[in-house]
């Protein structure tokens, strides 16, 4: 009875992903093709025959719709095509190089944001309306308001240039080079989660079932841990999807500032150089990543919230 509900829930959600993916690919494809000027315009002027050859090689001389379906077919088999900009590389290879870096950066940032944000939020909620609460929330508001490209230079100036404790940029998989970018990337998400968690916890603590738990004579820490924590953290779990999208977006700037060779950097370069396949590939790839992550978060949420499973099973 309950198992059916979960299976059906998972199945429906999964099927729902496909139209999203399709829309994503289509929009990205037509958007970049609409651009005036092709991928080879920015380079030195090529003689017409060579130009024609290049166009044929990359199928740019075919009707647009045909190119679209050809591309769709390619995607299905997992091939994003060759990069226009980096001549010897395929997009798959470039993604293979850039994604692990970006994923590490993003993953650590998400972990940091979740742990720190939740703890701060709970602490503030338990000390509601005290000086601690107000100051923490004020700082959190600042964290949301300061753009990461403002924080980053300041951190670099302070901790790397003046204090010399950490390197100012670059990437060699050493933890020292990870510290500043991860913190900068995570900051706005920490702040948002802190505020979210605090509000949610305060609301839960005022609910009737917490009053019942207290009336049962349970010690306060048990009440918080066993009765309040799970309901309070649900909105934060829901937020994880958009949070990851925000981290991916933020990584574009972070990678630029800290000179990190991640997928975001490749994307920006590709966009500026009209590298169609690379740009498309990155957009679709990130789109898939976001969709899959959202799906996992959905499942996690349903796992924690018994009412969702029940409603779906009806």
């Amino acid at each position: 009875m309950k198992q059916e509900g979960i299976l059906r829930h998972t199945g429906t959600r999964f099927l729902g992903l496909i139209p999203t993916l399709l829309v994503l690919i289509t929009i990205a494809f037509f958007l970049i093709r609409i651009a005036p000027g092709g991928p080879f315009d920015s380079e030195k002027v090529l003689p017409p025959e060579i130009r024609a050859n290049l166009d044929a090689k990359y199928h740019l001389d075919e009707p647009l719709l045909q190119q679209y379906f050809r591309y769709l077919g390619q995607i299905m088999s997992g091939d994003f095509g060759p990069s226009f900009q980096y001549k010897d590389w395929s997009v798959n290879e470039l993604i293979g190089r850039g994604f692990p870096v970006s994923a590490t950066l993003g993953g650590l940032a998400m972990l940091l944001a979740f742990v720190v944000g939740t703890l701060i939020g709970i602490a503030a909620a338990l000390r509601q309306n005290t000086a601690v609460d107000y100051s923490v929330m004020g700082v959190a508001m600042l964290g949301i308001s300061i753009p990461n490209f403002v924080v980053a230079p300041l951190l670099i100036l302070g901790l790397a240039v003046y204090a010399g404790w950490l390197p100012a940029g670059g990437w060699d998989w050493s933890w020292q080079r990870m510290v500043l970018p991860v913190i900068t990337l995570a900051l706005p998400v920490i702040a948002y989660i802190a505020r979210l968690m605090r509000g949610s916890m305060i609301e839960v603590l005022h609910s009737n079932y917490i009053r019942t738990a207290r009336a049962k004579g349970l010690p306060e820490h048990v009440v918080i841990r066993r009765h309040a924590l799970k309901p309070a953290i649900l909105p934060v779990i829901s937020y994880m999807g958009p949070a990851m999208a925000a981290l991916i977006t933020g990584s574009v700037v972070i990678e630029r500032i800290y000179s990190i060779p991640g997928l975001g950097s490749y994307f920006v370069q590709g966009a500026l150089n009209r590298d169609y396949t690379l740009v498309m590939g990155v957009v679709i790839f990130y789109g898939v990543v976001i969709i899959v992550l959202n799906f996992i978060v959905d499942l996690l949420y349903a796992g924690l919230n018994p009412r969702i499973r029940y409603d779906e099973a009806q």
Binding site: N208, Y209, R211, T212, R214, K216, G217, P219, V222, P306
Partner: protein
Amino acid sequence: MALLDVTGLEVRFDTPEGVVKAVNGMDLSVAAGETLAIVGESGSGKSQLVMALLGLLAENGSASGSALFRGQDLMQMTPRELNGIRGKHIAMIFQDPMTSLNPYLTIEKQMVEVAMHHQGLARDEARAHAVEMLRAVRIPDPEERIRQYPHEYSGGMRQRVMIAIGLLCEPDLLIADEPTTALDVTVQAQITELVGELRQQRQMAIILITHDMAAVAEISDRIIVMYAGEAVETGSVEDIFYRPHHPYTRGLLASVPRLDRVSDEELQAIPGNPPNLQDLPSGCRFRDRCSQAMEECLQRPPLWTTGGGRTSRCFLPMEGGYIAAAEGPNEPGEPVETAEVRDASAAGPGDKRREGAA
């Protein structure tokens, strides 16, 4: 020796608009095995009274007075000490069963934790005990249903679960704060009947807060009538129902629709609204709505008593009673000649019933 003996209980709330006094100097006592009903309108302070006893007031609330339970003063206890009493010796069930259970935990978890914490039982023992209790409150198929979540139960069933949770540790006192108000009429009757049965089986004292006069009549021994934060009348069930004294009590009883009355009579309502607790009238708090208000009522009325736990706070003399409290123009302790007892059913000055049907 009473199980619970409360004297001079006051409850205040700090609001942005000023201090609100929800309860003003209440005294009450409950003997072992006795059922005391507290009756009053919304805003009379009846819920805050019991919340204060168990230390469950909101953050901006504070209470003073003394509440002796088994020899210890609840009002002086630390939260930790109170935790040893709550759920174990004094259990409480609340008004809204739909929101009083944690929707994210199974019924089993919510019951077993009480038994494990207060009685030190192991998990399987606690579970068996919980199943037994569910059976006692007549939840069908308790072995299966205990694993379900609250949203899989109906409102009436949830309230039964709440009662079951309350009874797990065999408390000396069960406080039921409007247990049937949020339920359908038929379910109300079932729950009231259940509480009545349990009360007989278990020799448990009950404080029943309600405005359901039928439930009061059915299962209570004594009644306290509250208005604007204080007790206006107390007495046994028979005394209150058959010989009500205070005009408010009479108004309450008169306003209950009855099947045996002539159907084209108007429903008797008490005119006016409950007073603003931040701006109470001087003297008797009920005087603006009282059909028998007199000039004296601008002063605080004296407390009449017959010495048998029957009291009334009013200027109208009580038959066979004497004044117990030293307020107002009368002296305490002296029985007042009540030969000329003012018959409350005769029309007096300003009596609206002069115009109405006899």
